[in-house]
C-alpha cells in the first residue's frame, strides 16, 4: 500500500481495486480485494447465525453509506435525512410483501424508487438552501418522517411497529439470516458497482464540480441545481434499497430506530472512513459498524463514544481513518 501516487491522488478518485482504468493496479489493492471476496464467500461456513445477522446489518450500512457518500462526499450537500429514506424503503418493501405478496426483487426496486422519488421532491425544495440551512431543512424532514412512521397507524403500525412477513420469490422464502445473506451480499456488490459507475461517469464529475465550486461548475455548463437534486435523489434511492435489504432478514421494524441518531451514525461512518472516497464509505461502515457492535455492551455510553469519535476524527483526521493511516505509514508524501 506504500504507493506514492496514491497519496497524491484526490480523495474523490473512484479507483477501487480491479476497476481502475489504468493497467497498473497496486498489488496491495488486489490483495485487499481478494481478502474481501474470500471473507464474504466463506463467512457463512464459519460462523453462527447471529454473526451473519451482524454481517447482514453491516452490509445494509455499507449501502446506506454509499448513498450518503453520493450526496455529501461527492456533491458536498449536507443532507441529513438519510434515516427517513431508509425507513421509507423498509416500510415500502415490507408492505409490498405483507399486503400484496410481491416477490422480493420487485419490492426492493419499488422501495428504491419510492424513496428516490420522495428524495427528488424533497430535494427540489430543500436544495434551494445550502450549508447549515440545508442541513436544518433536511433534519426537519427526517424528524417529520419519523413522526409519520410513528403515527400513521393503519399503514406503519404506529408505535407498535410493523411485523414484516418473510421475503419470498415464488415458492422460496427467506426465513433466516443465513438464507438472506447471499441476497444481501449480491445487493451490496451491485450497489457498490453502481456507485463506482456513477462516480467515474460524467455525472460523478459534475457532482464533484458542484462540491468544489458552484460558479465554476455553472460556467462549465453544469446545471447546478439539477445536479444537486439528482445526487439527493440517488442518495435516497440507495437508502431505500438499503431499507429493503434490511427487510429481507428482519421480521420487525419500529420507528425508534429510524430517527436522527441513525442518520448521524451513517454520517459518522463516512467521516471516519474519509469523506469523498468510496473506499472510505465502505471501510468506514465496516470499521465503525464493528466498533458500535462492541459498544452494544455499554448502551448508556454508546452515544457519548460516537460523539467523541466523530469530534476526534474531525479534529485530527479530517480525511478519514484510511488516509490518516496512509499518511502516517507513508511518511507524509503529500506535497
Amino acid at each position: 500500500m506504500r504507493d506514492k501516487t496514491a497519496a497524491v491522488l484526490p480523495r474523490s478518485e473512484a479507483d477501487l481495486p480491479g476497476l481502475s482504468a489504468r493497467s497498473s493496479v497496486p498489488l496491495g489493492r488486489v490483495a485487499l480485494l481478494a481478502l474481501a471476496v474470500a471473507t464474504l464467500a466463506l463467512l457463512p461456513f464459519a460462523v453462527t447465525g447471529y454473526v451473519l445477522y451482524i454481517a447482514n446489518l453491516l452490509l445494509v450500512f455499507v449501502v446506506l453509506c454509499l448513498g450518503l457518500h453520493l450526496v455529501i462526499g461527492e456533491s458536498g450537500q449536507f443532507a441529513l435525512a438519510h434515516a427517513a429514506f431508509y425507513g421509507i424503503g423498509i416500510y415500502t418493501s415490507g408492505l409490498a410483501g405483507n399486503a400484496f405478496g410481491w416477490p422480493f426483487p420487485l419490492s426492493m426496486l419499488l422501495a428504491g424508487l419510492v424513496a428516490g422519488a420522495v428524495g427528488v421532491v424533497i430535494g427540489a425544495v430543500a436544495l434551494r438552501m445550502r450549508d447549515i440551512y440545508l442541513a436544518l431543512a433536511t433534519f426537519a424532514f427526517g424528524e417529520a418522517m419519523q413522526w409519520v412512521f410513528l403515527n400513521w397507524d393503519q399503514v406503519t403500525g404506529g408505535p407498535n411497529g410493523l411485523r414484516i412477513s418473510p421475503a419470498r420469490l415464488g415458492a422460496f422464502e427467506i426465513l433466516s439470516d443465513r438464507q438472506a445473506y447471499p441476497v444481501v451480499v449480491v445487493m451490496t456488490v451491485l450497489m457498490l458497482l453502481l456507485t463506482i459507475l456513477i462516480s467515474r461517469s460524467r455525472l460523478g464529475r459534475s457532482f464533484r464540480a458542484v462540491r468544489e465550486s458552484e460558479v465554476a461548475a455553472m460556467a462549465m455548463g453544469i446545471p447546478v441545481r439539477r445536479a444537486k437534486i439528482t445526487a439527493f435523489g440517488l442518495s435516497a434511492f440507495f437508502a431505500g434499497v438499503a431499507g429493503s435489504m434490511f427487510a429481507t432478514f428482519s421480521t420487525y421494524i419500529h420507528p425508534d430506530s429510524l430517527g436522527f441518531q441513525t442518520t448521524i451514525l451513517v454520517l459518522t461512518m463516512i467521516v471516519v472512513g474519509g469523506l469523498g472516497s468510496i473506499a472510505g464509505a465502505v471501510g468506514g461502515a465496516i470499521v465503525f459498524g464493528l466498533i458500535s457492535e462492541f459498544l452494544r455492551q455499554t448502551p448508556s455510553y454508546q452515544e457519548i463514544i460516537y460523539g467523541l469519535i466523530l469530534i476526534g476524527f474531525m479534529m485530527y483526521a479530517p480525511r478519514g481513518l484510511f488516509a490518516f493511516i496512509r499518511d502516517k505509514v507513508g511518511g507524509g508524501t503529500r506535497g
Binding site: 497524491v8 484526490p10 460524467r202 464540480a209 468544489e212 465554476a216 460556467a219
Partner: protein, 253 residues
C-alpha cells in the same frame, strides 16, 4: 452569421440605488481580441458577468451571433460556445489538474450513454491531454489544483475554459498577479488562439503591457459609461482616457 459575434446594446445594471453600468454598448468582431479596460470600479467586471450570464442586467440586450441570450441561464452558455475565467480563480481545488480540464469538457462528454458513463470518454481525453500539453500543465496532471502555484492555476483556468471549445472566450484579468515572463507566454498563447484557431476573445484587464500588445480593439469604461473605443493607439492618445485612467498608469511606467 452576424458580423459581430457578440453585441451588447444599451446595457444598464443597477444595484439598489447604484448604477454600476450605464447604457453601455459594445460590439466584438468575430476573430478579434477585444479588451475592456478602465479604472477600478468602472463596471468592467459587472459588464463581464452580465455577458457570461452570471448577473442579470436591469435593461439592455446581449446578442451572441445575432441570437438574443439576455435571459439565458449561465449554465447554458458553455453549450453555446462561451467560456469564461474568473478574476479570483474558481478552480475545483481538491481535484486533479486533469479532472479540472475534464470537467471543462463536460458539454462534450455526453452524446452517447457509453461516453457519458465512461471515465475517459472518446475524443475528449485526447483533447484534454492536448490542452494540458499546450498550457505546459502535463507534468502536473495528477496534482490537486489547489497545490499548484498561482501562475499555473491561472493557466489551468484557461485550459479548463478552452476544453469547452469556445467560440467566444471571456477572460477576467488573465494577467493579474503574473510575472513578466508569464505575461509574455500568455501574450503568445492568446494571440495564437485568436489568429490560428479563430477564437474571439474579450478580456477585462489592468495590465496595459498585455492589452496594448495583443488587442485589436480597446473599449474604455469609466464610472459605468463608455468613454472611448478604438485601436490601442487611438485609445492611448485619447485625452479623456489619459485623464481618466492611462494618465496615472503612464506616470508610473
Amino acid at each position: 452569421m452576424a458580423d459581430h459575434l457578440l453585441q451588447v446594446d444599451d446595457l444598464t445594471v443597477k444595484f439598489g440605488g447604484l448604477t454600476a453600468v450605464n447604457r453601455f454598448d459594445i460590439s466584438v468582431q468575430r476573430g478579434t481580441i477585444h479588451a475592456l479596460i478602465g479604472p477600478n470600479g468602472a463596471g468592467k467586471s459587472t459588464t463581464f458577468n452580465c455577458i457570461s450570464r452570471f448577473y442579470q442586467p436591469t435593461t439592455g440586450r446581449i446578442l451572441l451571433d445575432g441570437a438574443d441570450v439576455t435571459n439565458m441561464p449561465a449554465s447554458t452558455m458553455a453549450r453555446l460556445g462561451v467560456a469564461r475565467t474568473f478574476q479570483n480563480l474558481e478552480l475545483f481545488g481538491e481535484l486533479t489538474v486533469f479532472e479540472n480540464v475534464m470537467i471543462g469538457a463536460h458539454v462534450h462528454a455526453g452524446g452517447t450513454w457509453r461516453n457519458a458513463l465512461s471515465a475517459r470518454p472518446a475524443g475528449v481525453v485526447e483533447h484534454v491531454e492536448h490542452l494540458l500539453e499546450r498550457t505546459g500543465l502535463t507534468p502536473y496532471r495528477n496534482t490537486s489544483a489547489r497545490n499548484l502555484d498561482f501562475g499555473h492555476q491561472k493557466l489551468l483556468e484557461l485550459a479548463r475554459a478552452l476544453a469547452i471549445r469556445p467560440r467566444l472566450l471571456l477572460l477576467d484579468e488573465p494577467a493579474a498577479g503574473l510575472r513578466n515572463r508569464e505575461i509574455a507566454a500568455l501574450d503568445a498563447l492568446l494571440t495564437d488562439l485568436c489568429r490560428r484557431e479563430g477564437i474571439t476573445i474579450l478580456l477585462v484587464e489592468h495590465v496595459m503591457q498585455l492589452v496594448m500588445a495583443i488587442s485589436d480593439r480597446v473599449t474604455v469604461l469609466n464610472f459605468g459609461t463608455k468613454i472611448a473605443e478604438g485601436t490601442p493607439e487611438e485609445v492611448r492618445n485619447d485625452p479623456s482616457v489619459i485623464e481618466a485612467y492611462l494618465g496615472q498608469e503612464m506616470a508610473h511606467a
